[in-house]
């Protein structure tokens, strides 16, 4: 059915439900009237994917501050051999500071792991056991060379602020599986550079904005707890009153869906008061599980709790969970909000960051798999860019957006594959280069969405997460 015939009624619904006129595009994406109607009555209503999705949820482990590709997953023997020699083609302007142009070898011990024989540096004793679950993309690249804009570029597809993040797009496209919980949750310790612009709903309706949980505050949701001076029975009494009076109010007026939506939202909020604390209560996990994640280990306790919470959330149908790795355990001088930012000493920095994240991330993969959730949960690991192959100062590395590694596991991803490559020094992506648009196209594809069809009209333009680019990386699909 051509879209235009549907438009008038649709437009009213869309405008009133806060989806706005941009959602005409959403309606077209949803293809038929019934789906569109469901979407407009409740913007977070579950919407079927366009085609069979491989994954239902995403857990994105954001390695804040940017790990070095050549010290983690991208082994370069040439770097080891030519330590201290000039780096061919080095560009001193690559990073934030100025680099020396001299090759800095990786200070870590490298070994091959798994059936795939994937090379992993010694900082990941736990994750290295799972390489056969991972699809490595070694040829990631983007434009920005500082934390905030690069993080925006990685999450929103553009390094100018104001664009919606991938999690917001996904929620806009698919709705929520569990109406009693937020669909898009972000966990952080210190707020990463760029703050909520990295998990912004941008110009999308606020319905799709992330709920951010600050680990320093025990991950609480604001206003979730009832006031001390009110009992549950009292609150129930009030909600009954509200429903009655709101219904009377609506009946005497011309029909407006947002009035009805607001009546529902109080009931939803009421249920969320119980559902959210339950979802985040890691105390109810078994001792063995807690131990697996490393909750008992001071070095990785914070990240462990976050990973475990993430599993509980996706288990309960949360669509998109993102964890920003917080303060590193060793603390070698990198700033808390960019722990992996090894400008001064890559060895001490990366060892401590590895120790703070390795066990929990590995446990997450193991736990998801054991519970049969890994098939429908896409786990992504990576930072906002990579680091230079030449040294900054004596033993540190500067920012490098021209080549870095991200891996994905679970949810429709082929394990043990290595896609794309950097040059022999790991300095620039050269083979099968993957732009963030491509990564996003692949992510949407795995979730059952077509990145060219997921659009939203804003200020006269149909925007996409993948802007004008994006190519699904078929090589990593299972």
């Amino acid at each position: 059915m051509p879209l235009n015939h549907l438009l008038p009624t649709r437009r009213r619904f869309l405008a009133q439900s806060g989806l706005g006129f941009g959602s005409v595009a959403l309606a077209s994406m949803l293809q038929d009237e019934a789906r569109a109607a469901a979407a407009v009555a409740n913007p977070l209503a579950l919407r079927p994917s366009l085609f069979m999705p491989k994954a239902k949820s995403v857990i994105w482990l954001f390695m804040t501050g940017a790990p070095s590709q050549v010290d983690t997953w991208d082994y370069k023997p040439e770097l080891q051999k030519r330590h201290g020699q000039p780096l061919p083609g080095s560009d001193a302007k690559t990073g934030f500071f100025t680099t020396s142009g001299k090759i800095l070898k990786s200070p870590f011990e490298w070994k091959q792991h798994g059936q795939s024989g994937s090379w992993v540096s010694g900082i990941f004793p736990h994750l290295s056991r799972h390489v056969d679950k991972m699809a490595f993309i070694h040829s990631m690249h983007l434009q920005a060379n500082n934390h905030a804009p690069a993080s925006m570029e990685l999450m929103c597809g553009s390094n100018q602020p104001g664009r919606p993040a991938a999690g917001a797009w996904l929620t806009y496209g698919l709705g929520a599986e569990n109406q009693n919980l937020p669909a898009y949750v972000v966990m952080h310790e210190r707020r990463p550079r760029g703050d909520d612009q990295i998990w912004s709903a941008g110009f999308l309706p606020k319905t799709f904005q992330a709920l951010a949980l600050d680990a320093r505050r025990g991950g609480v949701i604001d206003n979730l707890d009832r006031s001390q001076s009110q009992t549950q029975a009292q609150q129930r009494g009030t909600l009954d009153l509200l429903r009655e009076m709101n219904q009377q109010h609506a009946q005497s007026r011309s029909p407006q869906t947002d009035l009805a939506a607001r009546i529902n939202s109080f009931e939803l909020a009421y249920r969320m008061q119980t559902a959210a604390p339950e979802a985040m209560d890691i105390a109810s996990e078994s001792e063995a599980t807690k131990k697996l994640y490393g909750v008992d280990n001071k070095t990785c306790e914070v990240f462990a709790k976050q990973c475990l919470t993430a599993r509980r959330l996706v288990e309960r149908g949360v669509r998109f969970v993102q964890i920003f790795a917080g303060k590193n355990a060793g603390g070698d001088g990198a700033v808390d909000d960019v722990p992996w930012d090894g400008h001064s000493n890559i060895e001490t920095n990366h060892r401590s960051c590895g120790a703070a994240t390795d066990q929990p991330a590995a446990a997450l993969l193991e736990d998801l798999e054991a519970r049969g959730l890994l098939d429908e949960t896409l786990v992504i690991w990576g930072g906002e860019f990579g680091r230079t192959s030449d040294s900054q100062g004596s033993v540190g590395r500067d920012h490098n957006p021209n080549g870095f590694t991200i891996w994905m596991a679970g949810g429709g991803v082929k394990g043990g594959v290595h896609h794309g490559a950097t040059d022999e020094f790991g300095y620039r992506a050269v083979e099968n280069k993957v732009h963030v648009n491509d990564l996003h196209a692949t992510l949407l594809h795995l979730m059952g969405l077509d990145h060219e069809k997921l659009t939203f009209r804003h200020n006269g333009r149909d925007y996409r997460l993948t802007d004008l680019g994006g190519k699904v990386i078929t090589e990593v699909l299972a």
Partner: protein, 997 residues
């Protein structure tokens, strides 16, 4: 022979790459062995005649002929012979252009890429014949036909349509609305109840609820024009500017911080917000409102209003950390932010798209974008100190200068007649008595400033710290001497009873840490073209050095290490620096810029600089006076100038007196009342036309120009003007404003349509064009085109004043309708496109917060001023700080937008977190508790009635009173400490509270 002949032909055809040099055999051999095979293997699949035949040709580029290479594809020639750095081919091979990395399968080996660079460097010898491709023409924008689009036409005054139900008509607005309703068989609703009208109009114009007194006054006023007078009263309220100013702040992406990496706060940005509020309250004509925002700084130079108005231009985000790689891109992003906001916010066209290519749908060529960008080119962000009483200060300054004239005349008199005599006498009689007892000569200090600290200097060469201690400060002290052959410098760190522990440092124990010293020597004489030199310094001798803070660390080029004197504080210290290499000093005098970098909070409180002409000079006590040698070395021509007087004043009482009288007068100089305004500053560089918007693909300088379809006379000259000799050319931003507000042949008609539509949108919740930021072909067509035309035309005809426009809209029967249901109408027009009823509209975030404060009796009506960081403040929400990374959660939850791009139509979402906030947040409960104390009466029905009056502006129905009385009882039985608080909280949670009828 044949080959040569062929090359001659190519040359004559103008295709030879390097003038007057034919390709040599070597070069051709290089092509054949290194280039041709690579092209064939990697490129021809998509870039050859064969590919064209197979419909696989990409980017219109043929690489299988020399002509094809030189002609290039869609994005221009593939190479510039002799210039690999400028050649597109090299950029794509090196993967420097996003989206055009070639070959797409992966980069060639670096050696091969180097071969290409060498080949181009040598002149790109290429023996291949064959045709250039015929590139398909892109859509050509036809400006003439583009001018036919409804929004781009000249303004017309449409005739009022004829209607049947003339009795319903209140203002011309109604005729346009009713005509369409009658055509579709829809009847308008009757008037809303008086209480509803009061609540509607009051929230609409002021963002606040009517107070009990206002309710009483209006409801008791039964005169025919009661409502009209209500509207006039509200339009005159100072809260009008706060309410409608906030609407405008959405449109202009207003925020008070940089965004990006560290989101630095812009302390002076609030002035723009206050200007908007004031301008609207004063009903500043909208054309002037626009001109001021584009060029207030140029229209009213130095004045507060001019500086605050252009806060518009600099309200967008700006990266705090700029690297060499991103500098140029950020500069263009900055201009893009301005162009896009002007486009979407003022003109309702999406200019943002046009940065990279001609608009795909609207008649906006890329040229238009770069024309406006060029008009904005030399405008950069800057916190400027602006005089709050500029005009008065200027007047006082004139008087001050007049009063100084006799003093200056006396000095002049002295310098011409007295000085030579007295100087000669002194040289003859007194000079011989003074012997130079020390090699050290104290410098004459010209200026002493610091990044943060405030410094002063005195006649004896002391530099003294006054205040504002900050971390890692750098002092910059400029000193002069006419002597040459300087071999050593000396820094005295002097103890001083006013300093902590008598100094000489600023730290609590009197210590300092001098991290680094840098001295730059510049010739004083303008004729001397010698370049400034940074002196190479070595540590000399020192009075004392602290353990691990040795003196050598002050000259190690590392500011993190430095010289300190602990534990020997409270006394004078000194250190000398040797000049390495050639001695310093220029013919005609030298200015030394001495930069002292301190580490941490360890600055110096009192210091003095001196020099010596011998190296390895010991630290001896210096004389107080500068040596005679200085005088002798002064150029003869300068003997009567101010410098000599200044110097001679140390000796001659008359000179001293004259200078003192001038200094005394200067103390009375009228001081400006400075405030920091985040505004514009002249700066930046020219703007270039960028192919595909990419900063490394510049294609010639862009000149100020405007949107072609909105220039009825076809050229921008009318507004940019032709500069007359000796006259300052018109500033391009002034021209931009003149063009945009020109209602006859410029952007005025569109500007008027856009704002008329916005005004309608904020009164009704939906614009006549439902996409207020886009009146182009991609926007929604107007529901009532003639009504919009009428409103725009009236606006211009009434001198661009907005208040009459509000009046005409609000006094219309259309606006005053009820929201009642009508099933017949509902069937015909369920979307209310015809405006047959007034929908209940949810208050915006700010109005919800303000109304809560108001009911709680907490609202502070103070206006203006620096933004408020405490969200618990009782000030109106428009005054809360808008920091991009820390937006106020309460406001964003209720759809306050992200201030990154122009927002014409806020969302209106309903999410459970809003309900959680209303149910559980301490803020809302606190307001409910305060509200309860205001309404609690002896009897429950009185309490309920009073609460309804304040919250909903009406009496409860008997059924409601009954239901709520029962609720109060039930809450009491359930153990509520104050059932009234629960009642108030419930009323605040109701749809009726935040949905205004």
């Amino acid at each position: 022979m044949l080959l040569r002949h062929f090359y001659t032909a190519l040359f004559l055809a103008g295709l030879a790459s390097r003038a007057f040099s034919a390709d040599t055999n070597d070069q051709l051999a290089f092509f054949e062995s290194k280039i041709r095979p690579v092209l064939a293997q990697n490129c021809f699949e998509c870039h050859s005649a064969q590919a064209q035949q197979n419909k696989k040709l990409k980017a219109g580029l043929l690489l299988d002929s020399k002509a094809g290479v030189l002609h290039g594809g869609e994005t221009g020639p593939a190479l510039v012979a002799g210039k690999p750095a400028d050649s597109l081919l090299m950029k794509v091979l090196r993967h420097e252009i996003k989206g055009a990395e070639m070959p797409p399968k992966g980069a060639l080996r670096s050696g091969v890429i180097a071969d290409f660079a060498k080949w181009i460097e040598m002149g790109a010898a290429d023996p291949r014949s064959g045709a250039a491709p015929v590139v398909e023409h892109k859509r050509v924008i036809d400006v003439k036909s583009g001018q036919g689009w409804w929004a781009f036409r000249p303004l017309a005054a449409p005739a009022l349509p004829k209607v049947k139900n003339n009795a319903w008509i209140q203002t011309p607005v109604d005729a346009f609305i009713l005509a369409q309703q009658e055509a579709k068989g829809v009847a308008p609703n009757s008037l809303a109840a008086k209480e509803q009208l009061l609540r509607r109009a009051t929230f609409d114009l002021t963002g606040l609820a009517p107070t009990a007194e206002e309710q009483a006054a209006f409801l008791q006023d039964s005169s025919a024009d009661a409502y009209e007078r209500l509207v006039d009263r509200l339009l005159a309220s100072k809260h009008y500017g706060e309410r409608w100013g906030r609407h405008w702040l959405d449109v202009v992406r207003f925020a008070e911080s940089n965004g990006y990496e560290f989101d630095a706060f812009r302390a002076g940005a609030y002035h723009y917000r206050d200007w908007v509020i004031d301008a609207l309250n004063a009903d500043m004509p909208y054309d002037q409102f626009i001109r001021m925002q584009l060029a207030g700084d140029k229209l009213m130079p130095g004045e507060l209003d001019g500086a605050r108005a252009v806060g518009f231009l600099v309200a967008g985000p700006y990266p705090g950390q700029i690297t060499a790689k991103t500098r140029e891109k950020i500069r263009y992003d900055q201009i893009d932010d301005m162009v896009s906001t002007i486009g979407s916010g003022m003109l309702g066209v999406s200019m943002g798209c046009v940065r990279c290519h001609d608009h795909k749908f609207d008649p906006l060529p890329q040229k238009d974008y770069y024309g406006i960008a060029a008009a904005l080119a030399t405008t950069v962000h800057s916190p400027e100190k602006i005089d709050l009483k500029h005009a008065e200060t200027q007047k006082l300054l004139v008087r001050h200068h007049a009063a100084a004239a006799p003093l200056l005349a006396a000095l002049k008199q002295y310098e011409t007649h007295e000085l030579p005599k007295r100087l000669a006498a002194w040289k003859r009689d007194d000079m011989p008595k003074l012997a130079a007892s020390t090699p050290w000569q104290v410098f004459d200090v010209q200026s002493a400033t610091a990044q943060k600290a405030r410094l002063t200097s005195d006649r004896d060469g002391h530099v003294i710290y006054l205040g504002n201690k900050e971390k890692d400060d750098t002092y910059t002290i400029k000193v002069v001497t006419y002597q040459k052959g300087i071999r050593a410098f000396r820094l005295d760190a002097l103890s001083d009873p006013t300093l902590p522990n008598k100094g000489p440092g600023l730290s609590d124990n009197g210590n300092f840490v001098l991290g680094d010293v840098k001295i730059i020597a510049r010739p004083l004489d303008k004729q001397n073209k010698t370049k400034p030199v940074t002196l190479d310094l070595a540590a000399g001798t020192v009075t004392f050095e602290q353990k691990r803070f040795e003196f050598a660390q002050a000259v190690d080029n590392s500011p993190n290490t430095g010289w300190g004197v602990a534990p020997k504080m409270s006394k004078d210290h000194a250190a000398t620096f040797e000049v390495e290499g050639d001695a310093a000093g220029f013919d005609g005098g030298t200015e030394f810029e001495v930069q002292l970098r301190f580490s941490g909070f360890f600055g110096l409180g009192n210091l003095r600089l001196a020099f010596a002409q011998e190296a390895k000079t010991a630290l001896t006590a210096e004389t107080d006076m500068q040596s005679l040698r200085e005088l002798q070395s002064m150029p003869a021509a300068a003997t009567a100038d101010a410098l000599v007087t200044r110097w001679f004043a140390r000796i001659d009482p008359q000179a001293k007196k004259l200078l003192a009288s001038i200094a005394e007068h200067e103390k009375k100089r009228p001081q400006p009342l400075l405030t920091e305004v985040y505004t514009t500053k002249q700066g930046g560089e020219d703007v270039y036309f960028l192919r595909r918007g990419e900063v490394d693909r510049k294609e010639g300088k862009a000149n100020p120009d405007f949107i072609q379809v909105l220039m009825r006379n076809g050229s921008a000259d009318k507004w940019t003007g032709t500069p007359k000799p000796k006259e300052q050319p018109k500033h391009p931003r002034i021209a931009l404003g003149d063009w945009m507000t020109d209602a006859h042949s410029g952007g005025g008609p569109l500007l008027a349509r856009v704002i008329a539509n916005r005004v309608w949108r904020f009164h009704f919740g939906r614009g006549i064009v439902a996409t207020p930021n886009d009146l182009g072909t991609q926007g929604t067509p107007p529901t009532h085109p003639e009504l919009l035309e009428h409103l725009a035309e009236r606006l211009v005809a009434q001198g661009w004043k907005l208040k009459p426009l509000h009046r005409e809209i609000m006094l219309s029967a259309t606006y005053m309708q009820s929201g009642a249901m009508n099933e017949g109408n509902q069937r015909v027009d369920p979307d209310n496109q015809l405006w047959w009823y007034r929908p209940a509209r949810r208050l915006e975030a700010e109005a919800i917060r303000d109304a809560l404060l108001q009911l709680g009796g907490r609202l502070d009506p103070a206006m203006h001023g620096p933004s408020i960081t405490d969200v618990a403040s009782p000030r109106r929400s428009v005054y809360l700080r808008v920091k991009r990374s820390e937006l106020v959660p309460f406001l964003t939850m209720f759809d306050a937008p992200e201030p990154t791009q122009s927002i014409g139509d806020r969302g209106n979402t309903t999410v459970p977190t809003q309900a959680l906030t209303v149910m559980n947040s301490p803020f809302v409960r606190d307001m409910a508790a305060r509200f309860a104390t205001r309404i609690k009466a002896a009897k429950p029905e009185q309490t309920i009635a009073q609460a309804f009056l304040l919250a909903f502006c009406r009496q409860p129905t008997p059924a409601e009173t009954q239901r709520l009385t029962a609720y109060l009882q039930a809450q009491q039985q359930l153990g509520a400490k104050s059932p009234e608080i629960e009642l108030c909280l419930a009323l605040l949670s109701l749809n009726e509270f935040i949905y205004v009828d």
